[in-house]
Amino acid sequence: MRLDRELACRDIVELVTGYLEHALPPGDRERFEEHLVFCDGCGTYLDQMRATIAATGRLEPAALPAELEARLLEAFRGWRPA
């Protein structure tokens, strides 16, 4: 992605995942970080993204449907070496 010298807040919003994934080319990464130095709003946005990701990571994985899990367990018991 080619960007002008300065990134607008709109660009930051679009690039934030690339930034967090360490996927921005070095020049863009630099401009991204420069923008954060003077823009509190985008700093907050980045913090919110990080908080959202951390919170999502604390959700419990959904359970498998019980009867599917029962079938898998049955296969496991049938296979069981002992």
Partner: protein, 200 residues
């Protein structure tokens, strides 16, 4: 042989080999629903996806004795699920779901509506080590994820909830690097936005 595996993985692998049901439950709790989710992205119905998981599980049992831990347990598990699902998907003559991102019908990111001059108000930002979001906020996140289009929901769940790496998700779902990132970005932006609305 397994020194490349995390201690947690090594314990699960050992347990599965020994027919230990606690290890079975551990794997299912960690990855069971994710395996089903991956399968669902390749085949047309929930019933077929469940069959894929069953078939893949037999493959896991067949292979666990020879599993050498060159990749993590989850990488290996999801590879088996994806390959099983792909074979099944081809038999069903169903095209791979992610071409053109699959989710294009959905609305533009809420976050794109931010004008160039607007600033984020920032009232709920918290440092990463700050207070933990309450149960109600967690519920808001869960609902926001449920409302996402399937590909976005799958990617954010595998990445942020089950903790798969970008590469693991790309391999499990046959995504390009860019598509993985775009789907993740849209998903996270919507979840963030739902949280912001809740915090407002």
């Amino acid at each position: 042989m397994e020194e490349l595996l995390s201690p947690e993985d090594a314990r699960l692998v050992e347990g599965l080999r020994n027919g230990d049901e606690a290890a079975f439950r551990g794997v299912m709790r960690e990855y069971g629903s994710a395996m089903l989710r991956v399968a669902q992205m390749y085949v047309s119905s929930r019933a077929v996806a469940e069959e894929v998981v069953q078939e893949a599980w037999l493959g896991v049992l067949k292979g666990i004795g020879r599993f050498e831990g060159r990749s993590s347990l989850k990488t290996w598990l999801f590879r088996i699920v994806a390959n099983t699902a792909k074979t099944r998907g081809v038999r069903e003559a169903r095209s791979i779901p992610f071409s053109a991102l699959g989710d294009d019908e959905d609305a533009v990111d809420p976050d794109r509506f931010l004008g160039p001059e607007e600033r984020f108000p920032g009232h709920w930002a918290q440092p990463p080590e700050g207070r933990v979001l309450g149960a109600e906020a967690m519920h808001v996140i869960e609902r926001a994820i449920e409302r996402l289009p399937p590909a976005q929901r799958t990617v954010i769940t595998l990445r942020d909830l089950h903790g798969l790496s970008a590469e693991e998700v790309r391999n499990a779902l046959d995504l390009t690097e860019t598509n993985q990132r775009v789907l993740l970005h849209r998903a996270r932006a919507k979840v963030r936005s739902a949280l912001e609305e809740y915090m407002r």
